[in-house]
Point group: C4
Chain length 205, copies 4
Amino acid sequence: MSDAKEGDAHLHRLVLFSDAVFAIAITLLAIEIHPPEHWTSVGELFFLMGPKLAAYAISFAVIGIYWVSHRRLFERIARANGMLDALNFITLGLVALLPLGTELLWEQEAGRAFPVYVTLVALIGVSLGLLWGYAAFIGKLVKPIRPLLATYVLVRVALLPGLMCGLSFFSLVHPWGWGLMAAIVGSLALAGRRIERRAAPQDAT
Amino acid sequence: MSDAKEGDAHLHRLVLFSDAVFAIAITLLAIEIHPPEHWTSVGELFFLMGPKLAAYAISFAVIGIYWVSHRRLFERIARANGMLDALNFITLGLVALLPLGTELLWEQEAGRAFPVYVTLVALIGVSLGLLWGYAAFIGKLVKPIRPLLATYVLVRVALLPGLMCGLSFFSLVHPWGWGLMAAIVGSLALAGRRIERRAAPQDAT
Amino acid sequence: MSDAKEGDAHLHRLVLFSDAVFAIAITLLAIEIHPPEHWTSVGELFFLMGPKLAAYAISFAVIGIYWVSHRRLFERIARANGMLDALNFITLGLVALLPLGTELLWEQEAGRAFPVYVTLVALIGVSLGLLWGYAAFIGKLVKPIRPLLATYVLVRVALLPGLMCGLSFFSLVHPWGWGLMAAIVGSLALAGRRIERRAAPQDAT
Amino acid sequence: MSDAKEGDAHLHRLVLFSDAVFAIAITLLAIEIHPPEHWTSVGELFFLMGPKLAAYAISFAVIGIYWVSHRRLFERIARANGMLDALNFITLGLVALLPLGTELLWEQEAGRAFPVYVTLVALIGVSLGLLWGYAAFIGKLVKPIRPLLATYVLVRVALLPGLMCGLSFFSLVHPWGWGLMAAIVGSLALAGRRIERRAAPQDAT
């Protein structure tokens, strides 16, 4: 087997392993949710389970978004090495804490758990950013890509989800946060179109 | 790597991820079932665990049927995009709630949990219907297929299982429901044969 | 995509799904084992946890053996259909009950749980036997194989593990059971060699 | 299908199954961690959860390192047989006990659980060593490799992680242990470079 193919096997096993951890973490989100002991109507049932189901939905979306980010980053990665393994394990170790974070979220009183949860979500983004930064700029593990596009991917795919999650909670209290979010997403989308258009001839050929 | 092959990789990872979530949800169904504290004979053991084992068997069948539906739909899908990811996550998010729904089912008193459980099962069908409707009619992500066959697949593969589940519970109370179920399945099977026969020359060539 | 290749995709997804369920069930075996609340020495720790660890080891071996059986059977299967899906789900549904069976085993008093556990293990074997019987003799889903060899596979791969498990527990009480077990395994091995030797020229060419 | 390809399929399923067990075990590490019932500040939260998070981080690293070892060993293995299945199951059975070991670690008083945990970690290394020793020297299941390199792989990939884990705990009490660890890793790295350099011409051609 050639070196290239062995690298592929390594990358393949790494991606499969990551998918399994994401899938288990997302399915375990609901495992600590139990029906209330007493309920008399469907309305009461949903009233009693509301906070848990809301926390479940939020965390499901968070893991879903990071799974998409992870998939997008690894589409651009051509091979793996030990350092990529290690950085990926940090991401997975934080993702596997999300069921715990979700429990914290629904059991909280007086909003004290919000910052902890948001920090956990943001740390996943930071760890993905480190992974991509290493793969693109230091380890040279990615398929041919221009540095500007690599930087754009770093900001948009790795860091944006955590920022958006934090801003969403922030905007619940300070409504002008929604405007800030729209502005960030809009300008990043504009920048992205320009970068990809300019990148197209070079990368595609 | 060509665009086509990258699309394949995306679809491949999406399918594997979905399989993992289905597999975890189906295996977790039994995790909240514990042996009774005191039992003196095998008969008493099964009497005490009966409702739990029945709920387990029902939910196992539900997840099994939806896994088959999911597999059949994705056999006809040729590539994935972000919207398909999102719709698939909604399906998975509902599937991952089935262990909770199962617990609700066996802990219920006076049949109040039936409608909640049936609604959850039906929602999985609806979400699969949305996924297929998007893939076939809007996103154009499917392999070549005639619109009539695509509509038939929508009704039969995505929506039918939830309808059947609901009717099964309904028929426990109103026995004429079984006749209705037989009529629906029978006429759909007849319609399906006609559609597929007519479709065969065009699709196969 | 040709029919043959689509059949392969179906079989491939079925095998992956089964592997995931086996892997989850085997890993969940230990999830209900918790450390004792008080212990003063390593000896006491193992004394307190002994029954649980023994039940864990037995069930781990049972799932491992059935995973090997499953893998061996599916090596001989060339394509899947809906009936194979259904029969495979029955096997998986029983495998997913083994964590519960294991709990029953270690919590039991006076050996009342032994027959329940052995019955569960035997049922997994029976369900594998049904699966293989259908695939080899009715659905014609297997790679070319002589009927005699197919029957031998049915007895040895599908039914033997459950029989051995039952006999092992039986032999703890009636020591002459060990002799019976050795006789069965020995004569099956002898028969197998003859069948495979005779089969070799025909099947290999 | 040729024998070679069937062997590949066996090996492939074995590796996938192992990955699933590793992924489930690593994700279940956090499942028994629950938020404290009362906490008033983030500082108190982390103070209360500190031992659990520390135990989680240690076990996550342990499973991560053994997953890398497992991947590296199996990169050098060309085919599987029943004995490899059995030895691999022993490794997986020990890995699946790590969530329990982690719980033991954080619930311990007076450091009594340390030796139990370290023994479990070391046993995983020993089982990987047995697996590799069998594959390389007895079963001849590996790709062409010189005996000296095979021995080096045995020591470095299989046995080293458990030794390092034990020495890390040891060094918390006896600081000169850190020096011993550095000396072992350094001399192994030196030896490894020599062996691989000498091996290169023979193995690569």
